[in-house]
């Protein structure tokens, strides 16, 4: 029996290759995810380990604000007095004050800020760099306007010793002279290629911390005979509990943890998309094995007639599936390693990082690859195997005409599943399920896909006929249409596989478009400003802005009737971190059209704050209550609520007086809102304002519509990434179409021979097969668009109930049109090889009787 199975497998290897390919792609994603994350983990581990060896004890301030998401909060600086005290310790062999702050931006020779995706720009003092870095050219900075830049900046911006360079920090652009270029010592390669500018001590302190006499960290080396732990205790006694004191290794481990979190998220995301690809792969394998079993009915019946039991037959099909799974998993595992290498190279080039070579392959990757590949293949082949077991021996004698099996059972169960799935999705979106929301939502979607796939044969016939009528301009095309409808189950599974990917793309697109349009209408309706000054920094660390002084000048520009600046940051209010705004309350109230809910929302003195009604409700605050406010660089202090405003989606829930902004992470204003007097030339005003902002090149001067576009720009980037990842499952679905076509054409060899004999041209045969293919793909796309729109609309509706009452559903007609067009193209492409083979069928062999 096993030999018979193996022989039949070899005979059909071409047919199984396509379905195997689906498993390969899915397993490749799984293996790639594991290998990549393990590699990154190990390599970062190695790199951070070296850091731990260079210092023994490090002292830093604590953060005022405990944010769990978004940019890292700023730690309080360490005063120089502490450094002086610690310098006196006998067990400290050496002590260095270090300035090391993110938020530095470099302006390139073209006047634009040099952007990096990922690694930050860092401002440091040169004296703390010499342990780990060497000068590759020039000398150390000695004057306040001299700097050393690192090799990344020199390469990216084409800078050499002697050039002038403009740098943005907590202050707007200042010009410096490059006196040296530095690179990490060979033993201390950094994991990320950051942009680093080293100033003199005082300049670094002033520009990066905001005041002199302060350090980011104070680092100590232990004297011979003293362990880092001992030194740490001594430092603790002097510095006290207000500072974070760590040994070198503890510090390295903490850094490592941060990176591990990121790597963990990366792996989860990659595995998520692998799961989608594998889900689609199940459809494909199910279809392939169904078709193969159907084609082998006579052979299987013969085996049964000769005495093989149904169990043996079923096991032989499952054995085939197992072998396909093993081979596909092996190839997929290998391909995944390749993908991981490729992705790592991509990450390195994009982020400028410098990882050591080599790749780590965890055992989990091997186990997961084989487990997933084999289980998926065998689960998918289970139903066909069961059907094979039920082939009656007498079928070997009879003609193999299978009557159309009724679809009622399938349709009813499909309908039940779909309703259950809809229920699960609704519950996930509207009911309060706490942490279970995501699994229930995903489970509901999965169930829904299966349910709809089961319903598809029933709804398929009329839809496919209707579709076909559009393309039946010739007899071959009409034949193609009929062929696509003749086996509703087969067509349904093939189309359903495509539906999964299209649903995801459409759903995400509906979500994104709705968000964008809502944002745009929100800005249009709620924002009372003609011109907006806004920093255009993509990424999670918005540090760009402009000084208040510039705003005073902007106010003087003819045509400007009012100008309001808003500073945004995260601060600790009460017991939690929250987004806050600081600025003139009257101006803010006008710009954002705030409605008064209680108290006075148009004035703020020191020690006061305004909150939104939502924030007040969540935190049980009323006018007159006192709470604590601690900004990133300030000290905690009490503040009284003096006004409550009706919440606005464009403004955070807390507004502080303008003075608080001086102790924000950056004293620069984040956004400015101007109104232009009636009759004034808006364009001229914008041009003049732009000139005033010459030292803040990150700040863009736009009108309302431009501002709305800026805000939604990030959505577009995410959309592209998501679509690429979803593209993998669509690719698998396309393989499914090719597979179904190829296998169906094998069955129809006699018909092909017949029509060629009675006079159909080869080109007409190609036309016939192509129409069949396009009908299937367009059908799948239509299904996906319908389901995706419904899903996206449901999510949007849920969102608008909960959080943002102004989110409206917008259908991305452009995307839908593109998807339909793509479906046609995909149908054409998928048909190329099968149609060519069909047109070249050997007519004589095809019509010969057996």
């Amino acid at each position: 029996m096993i030999r018979a199975t193996l022989k039949s497998l070899m005979a059909r290897k071409l047919r199984l290759i396509l379905s195997g390919l689906a498993v390969v792609l899915g397993v490749m994603s799984v293996s790639g995810a594991f290998v990549l994350s393990q590699t990154l983990t190990d390599q970062f581990n190695k790199l951070f380990a070296t850091v731990g060896t260079t210092l023994d004890v490090t002292v830093a301030g604590r953060a005022q604000v405990d944010t769990t998401t978004g940019p890292e909060p700023v730690t309080a600086p360490v005063p120089d007095s502490i450094r002086a005290q610690l310098a006196a310790l006998p067990d400290a062999a050496s002590i260095t004050g270090q300035v090391f702050e993110e938020g530095l931006r470099v302006i390139g020779k073209d006047g634009k800020v040099i952007t990096t995706t990922g690694p930050p720009g860092i401002g440091v003092n040169w004296s703390a760099e010499t342990d780990l870095n060497d000068l590759t050219a020039g000398r150390a900075p000695q004057q306040p306007d001299e700097v050393v830049v690192n090799n990344t900046i020199a390469d990216r911006g084409n800078f050499t010793v002697g050039d002038q360079i403009r740098v943005l920090t907590l202050q707007p652009a200042r010009t410096f002279t490059i006196v040296g270029i530095a690179a990490p010592k060979p033993d201390f390669q950094r994991p990320t290629g950051d942009l680093r500018v080293a100033f003199t001590d005082a300049t670094a302190q002033q520009l990066m911390i905001g005041q002199t006499g302060q350090w980011t960290r104070v680092n100590l080396d232990a004297a011979d005979g003293t362990s880092p732990a001992q030194l740490k205790d001594e430092v603790q006694k002097i510095a006290g509990a207000g500072y974070e004191i760590q040994t070198g290794n503890e510090y390295a481990d903490a850094q490592d943890e941060g990176v591990q979190d990121f790597v963990g998220i990366l792996r989860t995301v990659l595995l998520g998309f692998a799961a989608v690809a594998l889900f689609v792969g199940v459809f494909l394998i199910l279809n392939t094995f169904s078709i193969l079993v159907a084609q082998r009915t006579k052979e299987l019946a013969l085996l049964r007639a000769l005495g093989a039991g149904p169990g043996q037959v079923m096991r032989s099909v499952l054995l085939e599936a197992f072998l396909v799974g093993v081979v596909a998993s092996t190839i997929g595992f290998g391909a995944g390693i390749g993908v991981a290498i490729g992705l790592r190279a991509l990450m390195e080039s994009v982020s400028g990082a410098n990882l050591p070579p080599g790749i780590s392959i965890p055992a989990a990757a091997v186990v997961a690859s084989y487990a997933v590949g084999i289980v998926i293949t065998m689960v998918a082949a289970l139903l066909p195997a069961l059907r094979a077991a039920r082939v009656a021996p007498v079928a070997a004698m009879r003609g193999a005409a299978t009557p159309d099996r009724p679809l009622t059972k399938l349709t009813v169960s499909g309908g039940a599943l779909t309703i259950a799935a809809a229920g699960a999705v609704t519950a996930a979106l509207y009911a309060d399920l706490g942490g279970a929301v995501l699994p229930v939502l995903l489970g509901g979607m999965l169930l829904g896909f299966v349910g709809i796939a089961m319903l598809t044969p029933a709804i398929g016939r009329p839809v496919v006929s209707g579709l076909g009528r559009l393309v039946s301009w010739s007899a071959p095309a009409a034949l193609g249409r009929r062929n696509s409808a003749r086996n509703p189950r087969r067509t349904a599974i093939t189309a359903a596989a495509l539906m999964v990917g299209v649903t995801l793309v459409t759903g995400v697109s509906v979500l994104a478009t709705s968000l964008k349009e809502s944002m745009q209408s929100l800005v249009a309706s709620d924002l009372n400003a003609d011109v907006v000054l806004s920093a255009d920094t993509p990424g999670p660390n918005p540090a760009g802005g402009f000084p208040d002084a510039v705003l005073r000048e902007v106010r003087q520009v003819p045509g400007v009737s009012s100008a309001t600046a808003v500073h945004l940051d995260t601060a600790q209010v009460g017991t939690g971190a929250t987004e806050v705004a600081a600025g003139d309350p009257a101006g803010i109230a006008t710009v954002f059209g705030l409605e008064r809910s209680a108290g006075d929302i148009r004035t703020l003195r020191a020690g006061q704050l305004l909150v939104s009604d939502r924030y007040a409700e969540d935190h049980h605050l009323a006018v007159g209550d006192t709470t604590t406010v601690a900004t990133q660089r300030g000290k905690p202090h009490p503040a009284v609520v003096t006004g409550i405003y009706r919440r606005s989606d464009l403004l955070p829930g807390v507004v502080l007086p303008p003075a608080e902004a001086t102790s924000f992470r950056s004293p620069l204003a984040t956004t400015g809102y101007l109104t232009v007097a009636a009759g004034a030339d808006s364009r001229a005003v914008r041009a003049r304002v732009g000139e005033l902002l010459a030292d803040s090149p990150e700040v863009k001067v736009t009108d309302q519509a431009g501002y709305a576009d800026q805000q939604t720009g990030r959505v577009d980037i995410m959309l592209v990434v998501l679509n690429i990842l979803i593209g993998l499952s669509i690719l698998i679905a396309v393989l499914g179409v090719v597979n179904t076509l190829t296998l169906s054409l094998v069955e129809r060899v006699r018909e092909l021979g017949l029509v060629r004999a009675i006079g159909m041209y080869r080109r007409q045969v190609i036309q016939m097969v192509t129409v069949e293919s396009v009908v299937i793909t367009v059908f799948g796309a239509l299904l996906g668009i319908a389901v995706g729109t419904a899903l996206g609309a449901a999510v949007v509706a849920a969102l608008s109930n909960a959080d943002a009452p102004l989110v409206t559903v917008a259908v991305p007609y452009g995307t839908v049109a593109v998807l339909l067009g793509l479906a046609v193209v995909v149908g054409l492409v998928a048909a190329v090889l099968p149609a060519a083979r069909a047109s070249r069928v050997d007519v004589l062999r095809a019509i010969a009787y057996e």
Partner: protein, 258 residues
């Protein structure tokens, strides 16, 4: 000789060879210098034992296969020099086919199967001719049925109607009764005969069944890729007799090698 052949014959083979294999060892002569004419408006049967080359001859005549050497004519057209596309067009417009089985497309109704050659060419059927053909084969009440709903005999009759719809020069039938019981088989053979007698079709039928061959006006016998004899106005007995003699002769004569 060529010119004389084409004026009265609907189809003709002139010294046709069909050879497979390249080496001495593997060389197979399916047809070894066959020359034969098929008269217009006549029913001719080609008979022979298995391996005689009768199917190959029909395939070559019908443009479904290419001769290695020799000339093949359909009416005034020499078809062995035509390209693939032109041959396909010829089959569609000038020839009709009835195969032993799998004659019909399962997704089409009987009516659609009948008009298929016209549809492929983008033409509409002449309604009178269509009605006539349908009536002649006696399928008026089954036009809307799919092949799976028709009996074997009915399917062959649909195939024959399809063969007639283009008013072909020649109808080629390859063992048309092979899969039928004797009653349905007789019905189909009678239809073939009637089409020749009443509407002057030319029918060339390959068969191994003497009873089927007796419906023809002339029977040509093939053995080992050569024409070895013919009988006019055949009866089942004369045909059977000839077949037996053929077998005997074959056992005595050695194969002739070129």
């Amino acid at each position: 000789m060529t010119a004389a052949l084409t004026r009265t014959s609907a189809a003709a083979a002139v010294d046709v060879w069909k050879v497979y294999g390249e080496t001495e060892h593997t060389r197979v002569e399916a047809l070894a210098g066959v020359s034969v004419e098929f008269e217009r408006g006549r029913f001719t049967a080609i008979m022979g034992p298995s391996g005689s080359g009768k199917s190959t001859l029909m395939h070559v005549l019908a443009g479904l296969d290419t001769a290695t050497e020799g000339e093949v004519w359909i009416g005034d057209t020499r078809i062995d020099t035509l390209g693939e596309r032109a041959t396909t067009k010829l089959r569609r417009q000038k020839l009709g086919f009835v195969f032993q089985q799998y004659n019909l497309l399962p997704t089409l109704t009987a009516a659609e199967n009948i008009t298929l050659p016209l549809a492929i060419g983008g033409d509409k059927p002449d309604p009178d001719w269509l009605a006539f053909v349908v009536d002649s084969v006696g399928l008026g009440d089954r036009l809307g049925h799919r092949p799976s709903e028709l009996s074997g005999g009915q399917q062959q009759r649909v195939a024959f109607a399809r063969a007639l719809i283009t008013k072909p020069d020649v109808i080629f039938a390859d063992e048309p009764t092979g899969n039928l019981d004797s009653r349905s088989g007789s019905e189909v053979l009678e239809l073939l005969q009637r089409s020749v007698d009443e509407f002057e079709q030319t029918v060339v039928m390959v068969t191994h069944d003497p009873k089927a061959a007796s419906y023809a006006d002339r029977v040509i016998f093939l053995a080992d890729g050569r024409v070895v004899g013919e009988v006019s106005e055949p009866t089942p007995e004369t045909v059977l007799e000839r077949m037996k003699r053929l077998d005997g002769r074959r056992l005595e004569a050695p194969p002739i090698r070129r």
